[in-house]
C-alpha cells in the first residue's frame, strides 16, 4: 500500500494571552520594521479597540506611519488600491491588521498589490501563484472565528466587475498573530456564537475533507475540543477571559488546520448563501453545518465517530456504541446549535436568516462553482445541494 502525499505549512508566530498586544512593537522590530501602517474598520474604532491597541502599542519604539479605518464588511479592491497608495506615500514598511476577517483579508490584498506590483490583481487570482516576498503582516483578530490570522486565503471583491477574487498562497499567511483577550472581550453573545460556529465548521471540515493530513488533524481535533467546551459557556459568560482565550486559540488552530486541509460542502453552500442572500458567513455555517455532515455521513463516518470524543466528551464517547458514534457526533452539533439559540437567539434555519425560498435554486447553482466543493468527500450535484438547502430552510 502506498503512503499519501501531503503538504503542511504554517510559518506563523503566535503571541497569545493577556499582554500580547504590548508585544506588537517588539514583533515589528523582529521583522526589521519601523514604519507600520495600522488597518481597521469603523466598528472596531467605535468599540474602542483601536484606542486600546494604540495605548498598548506606544512603548517608545516607533509611531504608526499611517492609519486607515474605512475598511468595509467585504474586502474590496478599490479600498485595497487606496490603502496601497497610502502605504507607498507614507513610506510604510509593514502592516498591522486589527479586526475580523475583512480587515485581515484587506491587508492580505494590499500585500499582494505591494509585493507583486501587478496592474490588475485579478491576473493573480488562483492558487500558489504569488512568488514574491510580502511585507511583514501582523494580524490582531477581534473575533474568534474566521481564522484569517492563520490562513493562506484572501478573498477580495471587485465591486466594479461584481466578482469575488479568491487568492490562495502560502505567502499570504501573516507573519505574527497576536491574540489578546482585550480584543475579543466586548464581542456580544450573538456574534460570539456565530463566529464560534464558524471556527467549529473550519475544524470539522478540516478533519473530514479530502486534503486532511495527520498534522492538520491534530490542530482540527484539538480545536473541536476547545470550541465544544468553551462556546456554550462563553455566550453567557462573555467576561470570562480564560474562555475568551480558549476560543481565540481554538479559532486560530482551526484556521491553521483548514489552511492546510481546506473545507467542503458546508463552506460551498455558505459562501453562496452569503453571496446570494447576504447571510453573514458565521451564521450560514451555524445553520448548514449539521446538514453538510449528514450529507457526507457515509463517506466520513469513521472521522465523525472519532470527533464524538472532542465534541461530546469522554463519558458520552464511552457510553456510545462504536457504530453509533458518528451519528451521535452530528447530534451533538444539533444540540450545540440549540443551546446557542436558547442563549443568544441565534437562528437555526435559512428562512429565519432572511433567505427567500425562491433564492435556494440560485444558491445551489452558485455552490457548485465554489472551489471548496472539490475537497468534499462526496460528490455533490445541483439537485443534491438544493435538497440540502431545502432541509436547512
Amino acid at each position: 500500500m502506498k503512503s499519501s502525499l501531503f503538504e503542511f505549512y504554517s510559518p506563523l508566530k503566535i503571541v497569545s494571552g493577556r499582554g500580547a498586544l504590548e508585544n506588537t512593537g517588539f514583533e515589528l522590530e523582529q521583522q526589521g520594521c519601523s514604519r507600520p501602517m495600522l488597518l481597521s474598520e469603523p466598528g472596531i474604532v467605535s468599540a474602542g479597540l483601536v484606542k486600546k491597541f494604540k495605548s498598548a502599542f506606544r512603548d517608545g519604539r516607533f509611531e504608526l506611519a499611517a492609519e486607515y479605518y474605512d475598511i468595509p464588511q467585504d474586502s474590496a479592491l478599490d479600498v485595497v488600491n487606496k490603502i496601497a497608495a497610502l502605504f507607498r506615500e507614507k513610506s510604510c514598511d509593514s502592516l498591522i491588521a486589527l479586526g475580523g476577517g475583512s480587515v485581515i483579508d484587506t491587508a492580505k490584498g494590499v500585500n499582494i498589490l505591494l509585493s507583486e506590483g501587478a496592474e490588475d490583481i485579478a491576473s493573480l487570482m488562483g492558487a500558489e501563484l504569488l512568488k514574491k516576498p510580502m511585507k511583514p503582516l501582523i494580524a490582531i483578530p477581534t473575533t474568534a472565528g474566521t481564522g484569517s490570522e492563520a490562513t493562506l486565503v484572501a478573498v477580495i471583491a471587485d465591486r466594479e466587475r461584481q466578482i469575488k477574487m479568491p487568492f490562495t498562497s502560502y505567502r499570504l499567511i501573516p507573519d505574527v498573530a497576536i491574540l489578546d483577550p482585550r480584543m475579543t472581550m466586548s464581542l456580544p453573545p450573538p456574534l460570539t456564537a456565530i463566529t464560534g460556529m464558524d471556527a467549529l465548521t473550519h475544524a470539522i471540515e478540516a478533519y473530514t475533507c479530502l486534503q486532511k493530513n495527520p498534522v492538520s488533524d491534530a490542530f482540527a481535533f484539538q480545536a473541536v475540543k476547545m470550541i465544544s467546551q468553551a462556546l456554550p459557556q462563553i455566550v453567557s459568560d462573555g467576561e470570562n477571559e480564560v474562555l475568551r482565550m480558549t476560543m481565540a486559540n481554538a479559532a486560530l488552530m482551526a484556521g491553521i488546520a483548514f489552511s492546510n486541509s481546506m473545507v467542503g460542502i458546508v463552506h460551498s453552500m455558505g459562501h453562496a448563501t452569503g453571496s446570494v442572500a447576504g447571510v453573514p458567513h458565521g451564521l450560514a455555517m451555524s445553520i448548514l453545518l449539521p446538514y453538510g455532515m449528514e450529507y457526507n455521513f457515509d463517506f466520513s463516518k469513521e472521522h465523525y465517530a472519532e470527533l464524538l470524543l472532542p465534541l461530546g466528551g469522554a463519558e458520552r464517547y464511552a457510553a456510545t456504541p462504536p457504530e453509533e458514534r458518528a451519528g451521535e457526533a452530528i447530534a451533538v452539533v444539533y444540540e450545540l446549535r440549540q443551546t446557542l439559540h436558547n442563549k443568544t437567539g441565534m437562528v437555526l434555519n435559512l428562512k429565519d436568516a432572511g433567505v427567500a425560498e425562491a433564492q435556494l435554486a440560485e444558491i445551489a447553482k452558485k455552490s457548485l462553482n465554489d472551489g471548496s466543493l472539490i475537497f468534499n468527500p462526496r460528490e455533490a450535484h445541483e439537485a443534491a445541494i438544493l435538497n440540502l438547502l431545502r432541509q436547512a430552510w
Partner: protein, 159 residues
C-alpha cells in the same frame, strides 16, 4: 515516454470535449456560462505538454497541444503528477488536494472544467475504471450510450 503518452491523451481529451460540446446537452449547459473567446488549458510544468481549448460559437474547440496563456490554467507541478492523473491511477481531485495541481484564474471556472472532465470520463471510460478516478459514476442513460458510441467511433479522433 510519459511525455508522448500525455500528448496522446491530451489529443483524445481535447477532441472528446470538442465533440461533447456539440452533442451533449450537459456539456453545452456547463459552458454556456463562459463568454465567447474564453480559453482554458492544462499545462504540465515546467515545459509542457499542454491542452488548449477555446469557446467559439457556443462550442469548445480543441486548439492543440502547444502552450498558450489562457483565462484559466490548470497546472500540474511535474510530468509524473500529470501522468498519474491521465493514466487513471490518481483522481484529479486527489491530485489537487495533494497540491500536485493548482489553478491560475477564477476557481469557479476551474470547477466547471472539473465537471466537464468528469462528464467526459464518465462517457469515455468503462465503469470499473471510471469508479477509480471519480467520486461517483452515474449510470448511463440511453442517450449517453449513443454519446459514448459517438465518442468512440468519431469524437475522440475527429472532435
Amino acid at each position: 515516454m510519459k511525455g508522448f503518452y500525455l500528448d496522446t491523451i491530451f489529443f483524445f481529451l481535447g477532441r472528446g470535449l470538442q465533440y461533447l460540446s456539440r452533442y451533449d446537452p450537459v456539456v453545452r449547459r456547463e459552458i454556456a456560462a463562459w463568454p465567447e473567446g474564453f480559453t482554458f488549458s492544462f499545462y504540465v510544468s515546467p515545459k509542457g505538454p499542454a491542452l488548449h481549448m477555446l469557446k467559439e460559437n457556443k462550442r469548445l474547440r480543441f486548439k492543440g497541444l502547444d502552450w498558450h496563456d489562457s483565462d484559466l490554467i490548470i497546472f500540474f507541478k511535474h510530468q509524473e503528477a500529470a501522468f498519474q492523473v491521465f493514466s487513471m491511477q490518481l483522481p484529479f481531485y486527489t491530485a489537487y488536494a495533494r497540491h500536485l495541481a493548482s489553478v491560475k484564474g477564477d476557481p469557479g471556472n476551474a470547477m466547471i472544467i472539473y465537471r466537464l472532465f468528469n462528464r467526459l470520463q464518465t462517457l469515455m471510460l468503462p465503469r470499473f475504471i471510471a469508479r477509480r478516478i471519480l467520486k461517483t459514476v452515474s449510470p448511463l442513460a440511453k442517450k449517453d450510450w449513443l454519446l459514448r458510441l459517438g465518442l468512440y467511433f468519431s469524437g475522440l479522433l475527429f472532435g
